[in-house]
């Protein structure tokens, strides 16, 4: 996975973070694994109650915007295998 700079600082990790996810590998299972490994990230990517993606974040996968896919849709095999990263990207905005 690749996280925005502020979340890397918050979690105390580098550019890439590896998470172990059992099949099926989906947005939900990836984020569940990430939050389990790095509890400080809970609530910063998706809301606690609704689990909806925070509006200024996007999920990019294999050069596609995966932000509006169902959270339980299987991610591409290249992501599941770790060959390609699951990218969480912050919107370019603000001052």
């Amino acid at each position: 996975m690749e996280l925005p700079a502020h979340l890397r600082t918050l979690a105390g990790v580098g550019v890439e973070v590896a998470v172990n996810v059992e099949a099926p590998v989906t947005v939900r299972s990836v984020l569940d694994a990430l939050e389990a490994g790095y509890p400080a990230l809970r609530g910063t990517i998706r809301d606690y109650g609704t689990e909806q993606r925070r509006p200024f974040l996007r999920f990019f996968v294999c050069e596609q915007d995966w932000s509006h896919e169902r959270p339980d849709a299987p991610l591409p095999a290249a992501v599941a295998s770790g060959a390609e990263p699951f990218m969480i990207v912050g919107a370019i905005s603000g001052g």
Binding site: P4, H6, R42, G43, R54, L57, G94
Partner: protein, 371 residues
């Protein structure tokens, strides 16, 4: 050896400013949490090394940080702020009803008796409490459930609970203030609340003397006199001598009674400070002169304090949580500006000097005193 630690929250991080009791030479640490909005940083009066910080961003939401070594190192703690039950609705800008939505924590108030107990004032307005050092939070929902919530409305800055005053003489009594709902008081540790807005007049609401709906910017109290409260309202500086049962205006000879901050001298309960701001549509000092006003009479009679502050071409604002006092003799007074300056006076406001000039816009200032 005596000293002070000034905790500064800014739009782009937190800063810790330390000095000995002379308060002339300063060490600056930070930015902590660089790039994040830090609405408030405050230390526990029980354990000064325990400090809480509210960290937020439009991208990543709310984080609460905790330090156990006086701000040298920090750890993120709980950020799950969930309203109790069905949140309900409040008045929206266009007069319609709008669902309560958690946005951020404006103010953290550590308990006077336990370093692990801390209160959080939130936007949309609600009061939360943690008993485990910020790991978990529970809403004191009696406030939001008081019955007037549907008539609360956001000010331009949001519908925030920004002031939490704990009564040192009666631990069951607290005062809070919300923009734009007004001031509220509990006498049973937060189970039930009552509005305490009698005497307030606000021309920007349909009924200027309504029970709720007033845009209270800040309330201050001296710990030795918890029945005496001072308020900077949207317009008007107010005083209560009966624990909020009634208020009277003490704006007196202020050049303008609009402003955000108000605070009380730690050693002189009748000496209070405000920073007059030109108007609600022009958030900067009158005439481009930055001046703190001090009353030694608990209001009505005010003197301008500008020694060391810019007296021309100054158009900064001083936000509601951005003034604090230390308890040394003489009392130190501190405030931060939206221009990134933090000014300090080591002599009760007679003379001022900047500690720092070029921080990001300052949102909050708190002081810890070491004797």
């Amino acid at each position: 050896m005596s000293g002070v630690r000034v905790l500064v929250g800014t739009r782009k991080g937190a800063f810790v400013l330390t000095s000995d009791g002379k308060r002339t030479n300063w060490d600056v640490s930070g930015p902590h949490f660089g790039g994040w909005e830090i609405y408030h940083v405050k230390g526990s009066p029980v354990d000064p090394n325990r400090i809480y910080a509210s960290q937020s961003s439009s991208w990543f939401g709310q984080v609460v940080q905790r330090s156990s070594d006086g701000g040298k190192t920090w750890e993120p703690v709980g950020n799950k702020f969930e309203y109790d039950g069905v949140p309900g609705t409040h008045q929206w800008y266009d007069g319609t009803q709008h669902p309560w939505e958690f946005k951020r924590v404006w103010h953290l108030e550590p308990s006077l008796t336990d370093a692990d107990t801390v209160y959080a004032g939130a936007e949309d307005a609600a009061l939360f409490k943690s008993l485990d050092g910020g790991q978990t939070w529970q809403e004191l929902s009696g406030l939001r459930g008081h019955g007037s919530g549907s008539r609360w409305a956001p000010g331009a800055g949001g519908m925030c609970l920004h002031t939490i005053l704990l009564d040192p003489a009666n631990h069951a009594r607290m005062f809070i203030a919300i923009s734009a709902a007004g001031a509220f008081r509990t006498s049973d540790a937060g189970k039930t609340w009552e509005p305490i807005n009698k005497g307030l007049r606000s021309q920007h609401i349909p009924d200027p003397t309504a029970e709720v709906g007033h845009c209270v910017h800040r309330i201050a109290m001296h710990p030795s006199r918890p029945d005496v409260l001072f308020m900077q309202k949207h317009w008007d500086v107010m005083r209560s001598d009966d624990g909020g049962d009634s208020w009277k205006e003490v704006s007196g000879n202020l050049p303008t009674d609009f402003g955000f901050v108000i605070d009380v001298n730690a050693n002189k309960p009748d000496t209070i400070y405000v920073v007059p701001i030109k108007s609600d549509s022009e958030h900067y000092p009158p005439d481009g002169r930055l001046r703190v006003y001090r009353s030694r009479m608990g209001g009505n009679e005010w003197e301008a304090l500008g020694n060391g502050l810019p007296q021309k071409d100054c158009y900064v604002n001083v936000l509601r949580d951005a003034m604090a006092v230390d308890s040394l003799d003489r009392c130190g007074v501190y405030f931060g500006t939206t221009g990134g300056q933090v000014y300090a006076s080591a002599d009760e406001g007679d003379n001022w000097a900047p500690i720092v000039r070029d921080l990001p816009p300052v949102v909050s200032v708190e002081v810890q005193t070491f004797t």
